[in-house]
């Protein structure tokens, strides 16, 4: 469901130069003794989503705002595309980086189209190019341009406003997006949808994204890499979500991950990554006695009933086979078919829903590929090297 590119992308990035680098960056606010960000070194690879996550007040927003120089560093350097931008024109720099904030901050006296057009207009794009771009961005963020183009922000729901916020940030096709808790003020269901849509968008756009959140679940979901920060923006651990969840660096990270860390790994693995199992396969044509024998010989409580085109229809157990009714009427139907791209988390919830403890996996055309069982998930979880994680 959320094909965020991970492994191969990161390996590439190791050899290419980072898109953005912070070098020894320190920020001390005037009138405050302690720096909010202290001696931070951070490389952000081209095309990745780097999530900054940490407790409130640890300096995430400050770090993000140092990148587009909404605030000036007290010392250190900011490198963007290999160029030292620490002393360049900040407004020019900001037009090259989309910036999305939790409160969105749409201009209330401007229409949606005018809001999205702010940066293209500053860059003196021709009118028709701006108009086309606005419509394209509205489409891209799932808003019908004909409906929303001329509306004012007050007519939008929170989720819609944030879509426009993202569209506006993408206005002049920046390579970089800086997002400060963009979905933080949105109800859980809308947030879930926005996250998924955003990941889908990103799989096409391949922007370089720095994403701030205080929510570790969101970090795991959105991040190609996660930087877990402690006070003064000190990096406690910087790695892929898998590596952090399975191998937290220290007690602070363990604590921050919370007790659900192992379950969270389910959201990271997909059915295509695991070995599917194969309970007996039967069709309406299979003789009852034959089917019963197959089932008895296997370790599985159910056989899978397939139709003529090998689509899975139902889970069939011994009792179904013994009764005289037709198989597909009194067995456990398979309402949801999973695909290899789905996460193990989704597989688990399907299993719990159907109470068969099994979920059928099909290919794109709906043909049966194999089965994922609750036992295989349990084995996977306990086999993992989880030393350090509090269990």
């Amino acid at each position: 469901m959320n094909p965020n590119p991970q492994g191969p992308q990161l390996e590439e990035n190791k050899v290419t130069t980072p898109k953005i680098s912070l070098r020894n960056v320190t920020k001390t606010y005037s009138g405050v003794d302690q720096p909010a960000v202290k001696d931070l070194d951070l490389d952000i690879a081209s095309g990745e989503i780097l999530v900054l996550v940490g407790p409130s007040g640890c300096g995430k927003s400050t770090t993000l705002r140092l990148i587009n120089r909404m605030i000036e560093p007290s010392s250190g350097e900011i490198i963007f595309d290999g160029e030292n931008v620490t002393n360049s024109d900040p407004n020019e720099l900001r037009r090259r980086m989309g910036y999305v904030i939790q409160q969105v901050g749409l201009f209330p006296h401007r229409t949606i189209a005018e809001n999205i057009a702010v940066v293209p207009k500053s860059l003196k794009w021709p009118k028709d190019r701006i108009r086309a771009r606005v419509d394209e961005l509205l489409e891209l963020t799932g808003m019908d341009p004909n409906v929303y183009r001329d509306r004012y922000p007050k007519e939008l729901s929170g989720g819609q406003a944030q879509r426009v916020g993202v569209a506006r940030a993408l206005g002049a096709e920046p390579d970089v997006l800086l997002m400060d808790e963009p979905f933080g003020a949105i109800d859980p269901i809308t947030r879930f949808n926005l996250q998924n849509e955003f990941l889908r968008l990103q799989s096409e756009l391949k922007k370089t994204i720095v994403f701030v959140t205080h929510d570790i679940d969101e970090a795991v979901k959105m991040g190609d890499r996660i930087a877990i920060l402690r006070d003064q923006s000190e990096i406690a651990q910087l790695d892929t979500p898998e590596a952090i969840l399975t191998n937290p660096a220290d007690a602070f990270v363990v604590d921050f991950l919370g007790s659900g860390a192992v379950l969270k790994t389910l959201t990271l693995r997909r059915l295509r990554d695991i070995q599917l199992v194969h309970p007996p396969e039967i069709t309406e044509q299979t003789g009852r006695a034959d089917a019963a024998a197959q089932l008895r010989q296997s370790d599985f409580p159910y056989a899978v009933l397939l139709d003529d085109t090998r689509r899975p229809i139902a889970w069939v157990d011994q009792k179904n086979l013994d009764s005289s009714d037709s198989l597909d009427s009194n067995s456990r139907r398979i309402p949801v078919k999973l695909q290899p791209e789905d996460t193990l988390q989704e597989a688990l919830s399907v299993m719990l829903q159907t109470s068969a403890g099994m979920s059928a996996v099909v290919d794109g055309s709906g043909q049966y590929l194999g089965t994922c069982t609750i036992q295989s998930l349990a084995e996977l979880l306990t086999d993992q090297p989880v030393d350090g994680a509090s269990l």
Partner: protein, 260 residues
């Protein structure tokens, strides 16, 4: 203690009119205008005019005085706008926060002076004439516009300004494209207040040779002719209502679309 009160009062009582009130204004003001006009007509027709009254209420004279009243009120309002709005903008810029409260304090003290006293002060400084009156009235009516400019700019949602900054708008662009348009309704409220003050206070202009309907009212007081006092006061009120109606229209049509 008393000085902090002077600061607090104007601060806590911003002469802000929200939209629903201002829309109601556009109905209520004309209604009052018509009622007062009827009252004026009734007084004019049914009062017994003796010779003195007739000469005080000579229509040509009244017309001249009304023009003077309007001229003084108009110019002092223009002067207030030209002074107070830039000043309000200046003191709300980053890096000038301290000035703001001091300014409001000083002007608050100025407004606490009796208007008469202020006029005398300006007379001593600048001598007789319309210009002195205009200056004095402007000084007196500065505070509401300044205060509303400050309040209006400061009530703009910080996240909107932040977003503008994040899109590379510089300080001037943020002021012109975001802060001022969003402050317009509040600033207009201050201007309307100033206008009313100016129309009313212009009645005192006659004291230092600035003319106006104050002449008629003062003559009525001196010669004990209550009808002329009433006619003068009603004319002042009608001018004030007319100004406020224009202000109400401006407040409505200058208000940016899209604001709730």
């Amino acid at each position: 203690m008393s000085t902090t009160n002077v600061v607090d009062n104007p601060e806590t009582l911003p002469a802000r009119r929200n939209q629903s009130v201002s829309q109601l204004d556009l109905i209520v003001i004309p209604v009052f205008f018509v009622l007062l006009a009827i009252l004026l007509t009734v007084v004019w027709i049914y009062s017994d005019f003796d010779g003195t009254t007739t000469s005080i209420l000579e229509p040509d004279r009244l017309w001249t005085q009304a023009q003077e009243q309007i001229t003084v009120a108009l110019w002092s309002t223009v002067l207030v706008i030209v002074l107070a709005i830039p000043l309000g903008i200046l003191v709300t810029r980053e890096g000038a926060p301290r000035l703001k409260n001091n300014l409001v304090t000083v002007l608050g003290l100025g407004q606490a002076l009796p208007a008469y006293g202020l006029l005398v002060l300006f007379f001593v400084a600048f001598g007789q004439g319309t210009l002195t009156v205009v200056l004095a009235l402007a000084a007196f009516a500065l505070l509401p516009v300044l205060r509303n400019t400050i309040v209006g700019l400061e009530q703009v949602d910080k996240s909107v300004i932040e977003a503008g900054k994040g899109m590379g708008l510089n300080g001037f662009q943020r002021l012109r494209k975001i802060e001022l348009p969003l402050a317009v309704p509040v600033i207009m409220g201050g201007i309307r207040t100033a206008t009313i003050i100016n129309v009313g206070m212009a009645t005192l202009a006659y004291l230092i040779g600035g003319g106006g309907l104050g002449i008629t009212i003062a003559a009525g007081l001196k010669l004990n002719r209550p009808v002329t006092i009433l006619v003068g006061a009603l004319l002042v009120a009608l001018i004030a209502l007319a100004f406020d109606f224009i202000g109400g229209l401006a407040q409505r049509y200058l208000r940016p679309k899209g604001l709730s």
